[in-house]
């Protein structure tokens, strides 16, 4: 009986390790995502559809900005999701570096282009909003600048992935970049805020939270929810593609060796 115990302990341990790996298991994820994806798409469609209806036919024009306020329904969810995407990237990168979670680097890589797209949309919609409101498509102020920098970090991150041949190496290196980038993000935002007050105090327009009327707030939340599900849907599709891409690589390599 006695020699059995350590062996059991050992077994138990490997059991646990194994169970961690099963949830992280790409095959499990493939199965899980195949089931969930249709619902995610449906929720995304519903959210965006209803949100669009609400934002065009229910939400009133803003008393100051008139109808132009409707750009908010593209701009603000995109801006939120641009940061949400970076959050996912950083979290996955940490997990990838520390726990060697097999799915984590796939997740980090897949989140980047989506985050970049939403950053881009936030910039474009903001610019289109800026023309009627500020009289110009682009100003160099706090939010715009920090959002632009975020886009650059996304682009740098994607460039790093694209440049390094071996996916395992690319994953580790890119994870370091994502994490270092996260350290800098608040600094960038803070600094730019400060910078703005020096050079462009007049032209900056800001609509503070409380001034958004609930008749605008509601549709905004619905659209944002729809966008979020859209994000998740694309995210899963990209992860699936990425997992398969690695399988392809492995198969090619094996056939080369064999």
């Amino acid at each position: 009986m006695v020699p059995c115990c350590p062996a059991r302990g050992g077994l138990h341990q490997t059991d646990m390790a194994w169970s961690i790996h099963t949830y992280a298991n790409p095959t499990r994820f493939m199965n899980f995502s195949a089931i969930v994806l249709p619902y995610v798409w449906a929720l995304a469609g519903a959210g965006i559809g209803i949100g669009l209806y609400l934002s065009f036919f229910v939400a009133p024009p803003d008393y100051q900005q008139g109808d132009s306020v409707r750009i908010m329904f593209v701009h603000v969810p995109s801006a939120w999701l641009s940061q949400f995407g970076y959050g996912i990237m950083v979290a996955s990168s940490i997990v990838a570096l520390i726990f060697r979670h097999p799915l984590a680097d796939v997740a980090a890589k897949s989140a980047a282009p989506i985050g970049a797209v939403f950053t881009f949309l936030a910039l474009v919609a903001g610019g289109l909003w800026g023309k009627p409101m500020w009289g110009t498509y682009w100003v160099w102020d706090a939010r715009t600048t920090s959002t632009l920098v975020l886009l650059f970090i996304y682009l740098g991150y994607m460039a790093l992935w694209a440049t390094i041949e071996d996916p395992n190496r690319a994953a580790r290196v890119a994870a370091v970049l994502a994490i270092v980038g996260a350290v800098n993000l608040p600094i960038i935002r803070f600094s730019v805020d400060w910078w703005n007050t020096l050079h462009q105090p007049a032209s900056v327009f800001r609509l503070d939270g409380p001034t958004i009327h609930s008749s605008l707030l509601w549709p905004l939340f619905v659209v944002a929810l729809g966008f979020t599900f859209f994000f998740l849907g694309v995210f899963m599709v990209r992860m699936r593609a990425e997992i398969l891409r690695r399988k392809v690589r492995t198969l090619q390599m094996q056939q080369a060796a064999g």
Binding site: E165, D166, N168, R246, T250, M253, Q254, A256, A257
Partner: protein, 205 residues
Amino acid sequence: MGLTVTKLSCVRGERQVFRDLSFRVVPGEMLTLVGPNGSGKSSLLRQLAGLLEVTDGEINLDGASEDQTIADVVLYAGHLDAIKAPLSVSENLSFWAEFYGVSGIQVANALEAFSLGHLGHLPAGVLSAGQKRRLGLSRLALIDRPLWLLDEPTVSLDTASIAALGDLMRAHLNTGGSIIAATHVDLGLEGTRTLDLNSIRGAQA
């Protein structure tokens, strides 16, 4: 310094190079890695040095104190010579002496071990292929580490230099050091064990 390797595996670029490799090297012993091109000799040496990820398995130092890591006992000489062309021959070696905390007095001796003394003031960039290699190898005579990992050390060396290298290795083994060397040519050292990576691979297939 001894070394025990247990069930070591190596995956590079998603391809399994070798698997379940186990061996021991005791102090005063030399292990020669042989095998055809691509069998994983260089990869194994880099894993041992901690310069390449260990996919699976373990590498343990025998008789190392608690806080000693592999980096503290190993001297690695790879395919590349780690030489800066614009610096002179002796400046190159002096830097490594300082960086590894060796007294600068040793530099001249180390150069002499590979008959490079008279070239000391030349910029390393003008050395011939074999002279560069010798300059790289002279670190072996400079830095005192119990475990040497050598990747094809004889490449480009002439006969005299191969003999000099042989002497150096013999002396190292005699003082209780150990050596793991990958090579396609016979180094002429007596009493070395050979590990054929190809047979390992054969076993795995």
